[in-house]
């Protein structure tokens, strides 16, 4: 293994980890006597600098990814979708850290920021991983960080309870994932995604491979947990409700981006398993075996079927369950499940060109940004009203007009109303699905997704109705921290601008592919 290459490719991760250690050192040694505000500011500033430096060093990855010795198969990819996802993760981490400025739920400031940075490192790793073992290590690095962050509000029973639930579900799903990985290794003799994909064609060419189905269902269970897809979603509402606001925002955005980047990695590996020779290869196999090809052949067939099922279940159950919520955080959790379902459709119908990868990244990055803003706004209200019940939002337009306007923009974007960015993300995504396959099943699922997003307008309007229509229970003005307010306004402006000029983000993303 070439250690210079390894160092070059993992430079952003290294920078982030160094920043995490620096935060701990500064907070525990230099600032022991300082007051809470100073410590929070110091930790956040170091964290921001770390993220910024990590983005800055990403240009050194331009030389390409890390390969196995004596092979052209990638171990860690760089550039293309990986670079977009990594920059996205770092930017969303920056926003999460900025939201932490106004918080006072913990005295262990240094630890909180350090854990956020380390979890983000795990996210960077799985965005690049092309090997089952690296994937597993990265996922655990991310997940362990998230369990700790969820439990961080030590005075709150809810926080501890939700962290415990999250941890138990997470441990179980990690077990499923490993079990599935072990079968995949057994079937193919390799832990590398590309080698594995090629071997799977040989395994399935002569007929059914029930073990492959077992393996893929297990893998889907493990990864479905990360993206909170039904039926592996049970942790999400409790965690979103119980976790401290920045932690919940982090789980809802950064962790989702990383997990979908991993799914893109798997999809890309499957789509490019044979380079351009795939069609030829399939014909050769068919001629040699003299029997018609099985209907579900190789990796794509079974994977697509399983993921479609999960996607449909997620968007139906997520949207319908959200209708019944009275807690805004739980509402956001169920809506996250539904959004995850939409994105999984594009994972199920994945294109050879980078159209699907771009559509997924566009969706998850803009969704992540919007949802961080939503959690930030909810946290401001929660801080004053002491609850995230819908009734805490009564008459918010009268109490803080700016915050109400921010909520209006963010929630309408989540509902997919143009010209906000959420609408373009949806359109892009569904167009990508239909671009891959315009058969009856993909068309019906897209139609279902569009219908379900019509349902979603109802629950978003339920919150906005309380904000704008109903009279306030308490007429006193409601002020948030000025930095938090500035960040929220910035996010809302970004949602509007990116929505009016949707080409900006797409042009930016296409630059990364041009460099490959």
């Amino acid at each position: 293994m070439n250690y210079a290459d390894l160092f070059r490719v993992t430079l952003p991760e290294t920078v982030l980890d160094v920043a995490a250690l620096l935060v701990l050192v500064v907070d525990l040694l230099a600032l022991r006597k300082a007051d809470l505000r100073t410590r929070v500011m110091a930790a956040v500033v170091i964290g921001l600098l770390g993220c910024g430096a990590a983005i800055a060093v990403m240009q050194f990855q331009a030389g390409g990814g890390l390969t196995y010795p004596g092979s052209t198969d990638l171990l860690l990819s760089a550039g293309g979708y990986t670079a977009i996802a990594q920059i996205g993760i770092l930017i969303l981490t920056i926003f999460t850290l900025l939201l932490f400025v106004g918080c006072d739920f913990t005295k262990h400031v240094g630890e909180f920021v350090a854990v956020i940075l380390m979890a983000a490192t795990g996210g960077l790793l799985i965005s690049a991983a092309q090997d089952l073992l690296v994937i597993f290590v990265g996922l655990e690095l991310l997940s362990l960080g998230l369990y700790i962050l969820t439990a961080f509000a030590k005075q709150s029973d809810r926080s501890a309870e939700s962290a415990m639930k999250y941890y138990l579900f997470g441990g179980m799903s990690a077990a499923f994932l490993l079990f599935g990985f072990s079968y995949l290794y057994g079937l193919t003799g390799s832990t590398n995604l590309h080698q594995m994909m090629r071997a799977l064609y040989a395994t399935t060419a002569n007929g059914s491979a029930p073990l492959l189905y077992v393996a893929l269902v297990m893998v889907a269970a493990g990864l479905g947990f990360k993206v909170a897809a039904v039926p592996f979603h049970l942790w999400a509402p409790d965690t979103y409700e119980g976790a401290p606001a920045p932690a919940a925002a982090f789980i809802a955005s950064v962790s989702k981006v990383a997990s979908f980047a991993l799914l893109i990695g798997i999809g890309t590996a499957a789509a490019h398993a044979f380079g351009d020779a795939r069609v030829v290869h399939v014909q050769v196999v068919a001629r040699v075996s003299e029997t018609p090809l099985p209907r579900y052949f190789g990796f794509n067939g079974p994977w697509s079927g399983i993921v479609t099922l999960i996607a449909v279940a997620s968007m139906v159950l997520g949207n319908l369950a959200a209708l019944a919520q009275t807690s805004v955080r739980r509402l956001l959790a169920y809506s996250a499940i539904a959004h995850g379902g939409y994105i999984l459709l594009a994972v199920a119908y994945f294109s050879r060109s980078n159209e699907s990868a771009n559509a997924i990244l566009y969706y998850i990055l803009t969704y992540g940004l919007t949802t961080i803003g939503a959690f930030g706004a909810v946290a401001v209200v929660e801080h004053v009203a002491g609850s995230d019940r819908m009734d805490a939002f009564l008459g918010l337009a009268r109490r803080n007009g700016l915050l109400a306007a921010v909520l209006l923009v963010l929630f309408l974007s989540l509902a997919g109303i143009p010209p906000l960015v959420g609408f373009w993300a949806k359109f892009n995504l569904f167009a990508a699905v239909l671009g891959v396959n315009r058969g009856v099943v993909p068309f019906a699922t897209v139609a279902l997704a569009v219908a379900m997003s019509a349902v979603s307008l109802y629950y978003y309007l339920q919150v906005l109705k309380r904000v704008f229509v109903m009279p306030p229970a308490d007429d006193s003005p409601l002020h948030g921290n000025s930095i938090t307010t500035a960040v929220l306004v910035l996010i809302a402006l970004a949602v509007v601008v990116l929505g009016c000029l949707p080409g900006l983000l797409q042009t930016w993303m296409s630059n990364f592919y041009a460099a490959l």
Binding site: P418, A431, R438, K465, G503, Q506
Partner: protein, 508 residues
């Protein structure tokens, strides 16, 4: 020039949203907000008139065409043909009248006019978009302000009605979005321009199933029976200006979409299926029957209402039935009549809602016909009575008013297509006379004698005097309907060539 109608409306909305609030209930900035709104609406109206006048005799004129999302081939295309120009004119008229009839809004005035102008901006945008994507964006922009206008400033069951309207609209637009995605990807994913899609030769079988989807999607907003139920509740709950806009222009968005998108892009969806069941052999028959049912059903239900505003609400469903019937005749005269009916109904329904919701209700504080019967409004509010007589005559389709020309053309068109459609729709006209007459009689000219305790000894308490904005707006709307009724050529010269081009093969 017409494009500026969109921009100034949104700019006005933004300015009003940012205007300092004053003391929260009306307050100091309320008067300023009113004048800004009136100025913006009037400027839009003037631009619309200028655009209409300068576009006379021209076909489709592209105003702007720049790439918007180049990777998906989506362009920002604004253009206007005869149909667009007429509907933009209607929007300008309705906007000015709407602001004038909302002059007495005291609750959160700035926000009211901000939402009002945002809605107007979206409506202008839909009528001027010649890219399906852009059209859809404007179409959805119009949904949110409607919700807040009704939910905040409305009356009877406002939150229920607002939510119902928002969800119906959003379900309709979801159907349109599915059709849009399907058409975009089937045509090769390189353009969403209306002209490009119309020229894309979409497969016959594809058009056959996308057409009804898109037609119903837009039809929901046009009050297509049986998806019309949002309309009466929405109209009744809405504040006066919002009901004027809902009936006056928002329902036209739906009808316009049916004509421009559903028929313009998927004309083969109207071809015969090749088999028939009880004489129904194509989507055209299906939608014609739904339109006729809407005409008759709306009129009959209007006849049975006890709430004055519900009478007008159901009459809208009936009159919009004529628009949809005219569109599916696919005859030059029928479609021309449908477009003219859009204009005519926009003006007349606006006037009726204004009289009932603003002039009468704000003074009597009741809309129940049985209570209005005891109030002698004919003598105590002569202005309202006169205005309603004029508006009622126009609504009944008396010669000399715009409704007559429009409905006559629709009837002739449907007679040419299938005589029994015209015959059935004729029933709707007769019932239309009956419900208008009944409402007029009960509300203004009752001969029921008051009982002694109903008649106060010191005479009736005075109503608030009629204000100048009410007079001005009424005069404006009456003038419009009479002008078009007496000299329909003024609009027909613009509509006819555009309809001819549309029917002659989509938008090639």
């Amino acid at each position: 020039m017409l494009a500026w109608t969109i921009y100034i409306s949104f700019a006005g909305a933004l300015v009003l949203a940012l205007l300092p609030k004053g003391n929260g209930r009306g307050g100091d900035s309320a008067a300023l907000a009113r004048w800004i709104a009136l100025l913006v609406a009037a400027a839009g109206f003037v631009l619309a008139i200028a655009g209409f006048a300068s576009g006379a005799g021209q076909g489709r004129v592209t105003i702007i065409d720049v790439p918007w999302i180049s990777s998906m081939g989506i362009h920002y295309v604004l253009a206007a043909d005869g149909i667009s120009r007429v509907l933009v004119l209607l929007t300008g008229l309705a906007a000015v009248a709407g602001v004038l009839f909302s002059w007495n809004i005291e609750l959160r005035t700035n926000e009211f006019f901000a939402f009002f102008l945002a809605l107007i901006g979206g409506v202008y945008g839909v009528f001027l978009s010649f890219d399906l994507f852009l059209l859809f964006v404007f179409y959805e922009i119009a949904i949110v302000p409607k919700y807040f206008l009704i939910a905040i400033w409305g009356s009877t069951r406002r939150e229920y009605a607002a939510m119902k309207l928002a969800l119906y609209s959003f379900v309709g637009s979801a159907m349109v979005l599915i059709g849009l995605l399907a058409a975009y990807t089937t045509a090769g994913s390189h353009s969403t321009g209306l002209v490009d899609l119309a020229n894309a030769n979409l497969p016959f079988g594809f058009q056959m199933w996308v057409f009804p989807l898109v037609f119903v999607g837009f039809g929901i907003l046009a009050g297509l029976w049986p998806f019309h139920t949002w309309a009466p509740t929405g109209h009744v709950a809405a504040p006066t200006a919002a009901s004027m806009l809902l009936a006056g222009v928002v329902m036209k968005l739906g009808a316009y979409g049916c004509l421009r998108v559903a028929i313009g892009l998927f004309p083969h969806g109207l071809d015969p299926w090749g088999w028939s069941f009880w004489g129904i052999g194509s989507w055209r028959d299906v939608f014609a029957i739904l339109a006729v049912i809407g005409i008759v059903y709306g009129a009959l239900v209007a006849l049975a209402q006890t709430d004055f505003k519900f009478v007008i609400g159901y009459s809208s469903v009936s009159h919009m039935g004529f628009v949809l019937l005219g569109i599916v005749t696919l005859k030059q005269i029928g479609v021309t009549g449908a477009v003219l009916q859009m204009f005519s109904h926009g003006v007349i329904a606006g006037l009726l809602f204004a009289i009932v919701g603003r002039v009468v209700y704000e003074r009597t504080h009741t809309r129940q016909l049985s209570e209005l019967e005891t109030m002698y409004l004919g003598r105590r509010l002569p202005f309202a009575a006169w205005a309603f007589v004029v508006a009622g005559c126009a609504s009944m389709g008396l010669p000399g008013f715009s409704g007559f020309v429009a409905e006559l053309q629709v009837l002739v068109g449907s007679w040419i297509a299938k005589p029994w459609w015209a015959a059935a729709a004729g029933i709707g006209i007769v019932v239309g006379v009956a419900y208008t007459w009944r409402a007029l009689q009960k509300a203004f000219f009752t001969d029921r004698l008051p009982t002694p305790d109903e008649h106060p000894k010191e005479g009736w308490p005075k109503f608030d005097p009629i204000t100048w904005p009410e007079v001005a707006a009424t005069a404006l709307l009456v003038a419009a309907t009479v002008l078009v009724g007496v000299y329909p050529r003024i609009l027909l010269d613009s509509i006819e060539p555009a309809v001819k081009a549309l029917l002659a093969g989509g938008m090639q």
